[in-house]
């Protein structure tokens, strides 16, 4: 019988510093772990425990997987101290993943904040593999400061991949040497030029950002059913057994982590 609690032996092959607090870990598990964009993994730091992360790499790459991690506590602190060659463990994938089939033929609006661009990057890879399938892919991204922007090396490539793909970013407050846009990520939604009726929006970032992005999207005319949010709850088992990760009657680890806003809008304090 399969033991879903066993962490598959995995080697950290490479570590890329994205920002002062975010690193991307290139992982090679003992056997390939196929996943769909938006599904998440439980990553084990031996002896310390587990934490959930959504791969930031392309679901088409089977042998390796990248996760991009913000340093914030016990497990993530240890990870950030690691050097290439370190051993970790992986369980998963868990959850549903992004509703890719629902995005076909649509104007896809992607809104990320901070490390929230990490899970979205695997979606971006999946979409940009075949941009013609989608009417439009518009990526909006914000971080607090210029050096907190993740994956800067890829922005240009993303904007140029196809005429129906665009990328815009912003930082929260003025910073020396910054010539780009300034303002919260919601300001990128002020003068949206997408056809909202034909659009689906997907957002990932801190809960407070998700809240304001959702309010903004509703204000500009999105219906709740057109909005998908990557929700965040404490997780342990990752597979609907340990009872921990409710959002309303959903277990985020099984029914999410990306939730259609229409399904959860009635949940009190849904954004925490």
């Amino acid at each position: 019988m399969k033991n879903p609690y066993y962490p598959i032996d995995t080697v950290v092959e490479d570590i890329i510093t994205e920002t002062p607090t975010i690193k991307t870990f290139v992982l090679k598990p003992a056997k390939p772990i196929p996943f769909r964009a938006g599904q998440f993994m439980q990553l084990t730091v031996p002896g310390e425990g587990e934490a959930p992360f959504t791969p930031s790499s392309s679901p088409s790459v089977k042998e390796r997987m990248e996760i991009t991690v913000l340093r914030t506590g016990k497990v993530t602190d240890s990870l950030h101290e690691f050097k290439p060659g370190a051993k970790v463990g992986l369980r998963g994938p868990f959850g549903k993943g992004y509703p890719l089939e629902k995005l076909e033929g649509k104007e896809v609006l992607i809104v990320g904040g901070g490390v929230g661009l990490a899970p979205l990057r695997s979606l971006i890879y999946a979409l940009l593999e075949n941009p013609a399938k989608y009417k439009r892919v518009s990526i909006k991204y914000g971080a607090r400061l210029p050096d907190e922007l993740c994956f800067r090396r890829q922005y240009e490539e993303w904007s140029k991949v196809a005429p129906n793909v665009d990328f815009t970013n912003t930082i929260d407050v003025e910073a020396p040497g910054w010539t780009g846009r300034v303002g919260l990520v919601t300001t990128l939604l002020d003068d949206l030029d997408v056809n909202i009726d034909q659009s689906i929006a997907l957002s990932c970032g801190p809960e407070i950002m998700l809240k304001f992005v959702t309010l903004k999207l509703l204000e500009v005319g999105y219906k709740p059913i057109q909005i998908y949010l990557s929700m965040n709850r404490k997780m342990s088992c990752g597979m609907g057994k340990c009872g921990r990760c409710n959002v309303g009657h959903y277990y985020l680890c099984v029914d999410g982590p990306d939730m259609n806003y229409d399904k959860i809008k009635h949940v009190p304090n849904v954004f925490g």
């Binding site: 399969k2 033991n3 962490p7 709850r233 404490k234 342990s236 088992c237 057994k241 990760c245 009657h249």
Partner: protein
């Protein structure tokens, strides 16, 4: 021969001496647990027996055990993985457990197992540890011949005898028990031990039914002041006012005893520890949604920071969320949470308050 008469749900009689013989036989196939009362209070506990004759105190009458049956399927604390190990997520053979036989399981506990099964065994992933222990569990159910002060299975439309979910079920009657098989395994035990069984004497079935109705009546009397759970999921979902939860939370001391003793609460936490050098172990351990740290995330974010939120969550999970996600109310009315609560919180009061608040 009696055996040939035996088909599913056919009722037989077994006298007390032969029942003990049957248990003795079963004890050679697995660990045997039987109900033994505390001398002072008469409350029942499951006790492992290895020697026969059975302890003098053993009884197959009364009502449920103090400890919930789930404790046999999902251990309080158990290792779920050791790592690294040679590249495998297959469960090692030595993780298989011996069979065990539980005698005297009551309706409320048996139904609770059915509910927890839905969570641990159904769906895309299966908890192999729970599944193995469940498969190794041979259940001999017993009718309740009494009910406790806190029993309220009737408000939930079940008890005080089980309809399914057992291998064998006994009903105490004069001189022995009426017995039925509820599974193929149970049927096999009856077939291979035909000499222990006889056809029920005239009047025994009527006596059993009389006993059952006596307990039904007692349950109705004891719970006369409380509303049934009918319609409660909708009420909780749509009308619930915060005051009810504030009232309950004001008394709660946040010990988590109610969730630990609950036969349907299945929450656990995984944590890792070092065995030696480069070897680690992952442990699963019961957890309670009533304690602060349960859902706390990095950066001290907590979706349910106040005790009121957590108390409310417990009721919602049982009477609302799981109805939507798993199709059933996750309370069987066993009343253990009432017995165990040091603050005197009674779930039935909450039903009453909810219904009263809505009526207003």
């Amino acid at each position: 021969m009696v055996i040939s008469l035996f088909t599913k749900k056919l009722m037989l009689f077994i006298d007390s001496t032969n029942f003990e013989r049957l248990l003795r036989k079963l004890s050679s196939e697995g660990e045997l647990f039987i109900p033994v009362p505390e001398e002072e209070t008469g409350k029942l506990h499951l006790q492992r027996v290895e020697d026969f004759p059975l302890p003098e105190l053993v009884t197959f009458e009364g009502y449920r055990m103090v400890e919930p049956l789930k404790a046999f399927a999902q251990l309080l604390r158990y290792p779920v993985a050791e790592y690294p190990s040679p590249d495998t997520d297959e469960l090692p053979e030595d993780k298989k457990v011996p069979a065990f036989v539980i005698v005297g399981a009551r309706a409320c506990d048996i139904y609770a197992l059915e509910l927890v099964d839905k969570v641990q065994v159904e769906g895309e992933f299966v908890d192999p540890f729970y599944k193995i222990r469940r498969e190794k569990m041979f259940i001999i159910a017993a009718d309740c011949t009494e009910c406790g002060e806190s029993c309220f299975c009737n408000l939930l439309g079940n008890g005080p005898w089980p309809e399914r979910g057992y291998d064998l079920a006994i009903s105490k009657v004069s001189g022995g028990f009426l017995i039925v098989a509820g599974s193929e395994q149970g049927e096999k035990i009856v077939e291979t031990n035909g000499e222990f069984f006889a056809e029920p004497r005239e009047g025994l079935v009527a006596a059993r039914d009389e006993n059952r109705q006596r307990v039904v009546k007692k349950l109705a009397e004891n719970n006369g002041d409380y509303p049934s759970v009918d319609g409660l999921p909708e009420l909780i979902r749509e009308h619930l006012t915060a005051d009810i939860w504030d009232d309950i939370a004001a008394k709660c001391v946040e010990c988590g005893a109610c969730t630990n003793i609950c036969p349907t609460c299945y929450c656990f936490l995984l944590y890792d520890q070092k065995v030696d050098g480069e070897h680690f172990q992952r442990i699963a351990s019961w957890d309670s949604c009533q304690v602060t740290g349960y859902a706390r995330m990095a950066g001290m974010l907590n979706p349910r920071p106040r005790l009121t939120d957590r108390v409310k969550h417990r009721y919602h999970h049982k009477y609302d969320y799981l109805v939507l996600s798993h199709g059933a109310v996750y309370c069987t009315g066993c009343g253990r949470c009432i017995d165990t609560c040091s603050a005197g919180i009674d779930m039935r009061d909450a039903f009453r308050k909810v219904k009263a608040a809505v009526a207003k």
